[in-house]
């Protein structure tokens, strides 16, 4: 019986992240929406650092492409995660000036790794305080991906 219940829980996670119609709007309190909007702002800033890094180091475009695509998938999932639509517009974020990216390839990649680490660490409080369990699981999964990114980028910097 426990195993069956576990399967139900797992189905709830995967099912809900695929659907935007995740229960009635009253179950989606604005606190979660506000947290979601802050993550979206974070993501826009992170994507801007990737863009500036790639601009400064064009040879990084290929190795960093899958990282950028996963962040874009996170943005997409977050935008559809709750009934309330996001208020922020990620396109408004200013790209950091190229000159602020290290001319050293490995240092630039390590800066990205640090940014991913900071991102994953900052998700913890959202996971803890989220009112929706489904939203908490989505944020935890995104944080896990960012944690993996930090590890992979450190390996890339050593290359």
């Amino acid at each position: 019986m426990l195993a069956a219940a576990g399967l139900v829980a797992a189905a709830a996670v995967s099912g809900c992240t695929r659907n935007s119609s995740d229960g009635p709007a009253s179950d989606r309190p604005s606190a979660d929406a506000a947290a979601r909007d802050r993550i979206l702002e974070d993501k826009a800033a992170l994507l801007a650092v990737y863009a500036a890094t790639i601009e400064r180091h064009p040879t990084l475009r290929r190795p960093l492409d899958s990282f950028v695509r996963r962040h874009a998938a996170h943005v997409d999932a977050l935008r559809h995660a709750l009934a309330a639509t996001p208020t922020s517009s990620p396109t408004m974020t200013r790209r950091p000036h190229q000159a602020r990216i290290s001319p050293q390839r490995s240092t630039a990649v390590l800066t990205l790794a640090d940014a991913e680490q900071e991102a994953t660490d900052s998700r913890r409080s959202v996971v803890e305080s989220a009112l929706s369990g489904t939203f908490a699981a989505l944020v935890a999964s995104i944080a896990a991906c960012e944690n993996a990114h930090a590890l992979l980028l450190r390996a890339e910097a050593d290359r």
Binding site: L2, G6, R70, A77, E128, A137
Partner: protein
């Protein structure tokens, strides 16, 4: 697990079962790796044992009997060399990640904390074995996976 529903307990038991499987699996994995990779497998094996004990403690605190390990596990494919071992390790972490994502979804604050850190650790471990990651570790049906 103060004041938590049955759903949380069930998810914790599922995560515990996944930890038992991972502990068994990593013993097989470690035997087929050498050098740094073997050291990494052993460190991850020990981390899984710590999480197993932590989960069993939390479950027992709820006056529920922690799910015991199975007497044997079927390894899904033949492990003959290091690439097979890495592949198995990555698959074990996928299973762990799914169980902990479900625990985060079903759990109260403490279980969410434990689930989120374990999910992050599983994603990093899987990335270490595979050299890449999915966008949504633990959410098998999730977008982009």
């Amino acid at each position: 697990m103060k004041g938590t529903p049955k759903r949380e307990l069930a998810a914790a038991q599922t995560a515990l079962a996944a930890e038992h499987a991972a502990i068994y699996g990593y013993a097989v994995v470690g035997a087929h790796l050498s050098g740094d990779e073997r050291a990494r497998a052993i460190a991850i094996y020990q981390a899984h044992r710590r999480r197993r004990d932590e989960l069993a403690r939390l479950i027992a605190a709820e006056k529920a009997p922690p799910t015991p390990a199975a007497s044997a596990y079927r390894v899904p494919f033949a492990i003959e060399a290091a690439p097979d071992a890495r592949k198995l390790a990555a698959q074990l972490e996928d299973g762990i990640a799914q169980a902990y994502a479900a625990l985060v979804a079903a759990g109260g604050k403490d279980m969410r904390d434990l689930g989120a850190s374990a999910l992050a650790a599983a994603a990093a471990a899987a990335a270490g074995w595979r050299g890449t990651t999915t966008a949504f570790p633990g959410l098998a049906g999730g977008p982009g996976n």
